[in-house]
Amino acid sequence: SQQGEEDPQALSIQEGENATMNCSYKTSINNLQWYRQNSGRGLVHLILIRSNEREKHSGRLRVTLDTSKKSSSLLITASRAADTASYFCATQRAGGTSYGKLTFGQGTILTVHP
């Protein structure tokens, strides 16, 4: 079942601006991952943050995780038109039986205008 919610559902910005997307979830997790999907194709992994981490950076991406609030945010700095895509958070629940299973948020559609 879907446990994650993301906001905003859609975000439209100009090139060079920053984009922030938020994700909330409901259960205890081992990690939270962010993925990008272009035009309904396969998913591209962006970044993974473990439950004992609070912040992580990768290039223009910055992810935060607040396990007390069960929420995460993805910040894309200096956005480019090529960043236009759908972005999903996905959580891997705590517990051995959940290994590999991901529960996805509803996604944010990001449009970056040149």
Binding site: G40, G42, L43, G100
Partner: protein, 115 residues
Amino acid sequence: SAVISQKPSRDICQRGTSLTIQCQVDSQVTMMFWYRQQPGQSLTLIATANQGSEATYESGFVIDKFPISRPNLTFSTLTVSNMSPEDSSIYLCSVPGIHMNTEAFFGQGTRLTVV
């Protein structure tokens, strides 16, 4: 990392027919997962394909509708049976990372349209 080849990439099918989607991984993996993404929606887990045992289905999904095969550690198929327009979706296979806190890998997806 794992490379997943999924086919077909897309298909248009008549209602009442069945479509089998194949997923080939370039390395041996214990578990493979099948997800559905309905139009404009997020991904929902259909089932876990385990080698050597029956697939484990999530709530709302049944074997008669989505039979799964897992003949070896690198291959799996998902069949969408007796299709209706409501089955129009993108179907994706996935394998987990090498250990708990590593990324999962996804195939490119199969875009299915049922007319």
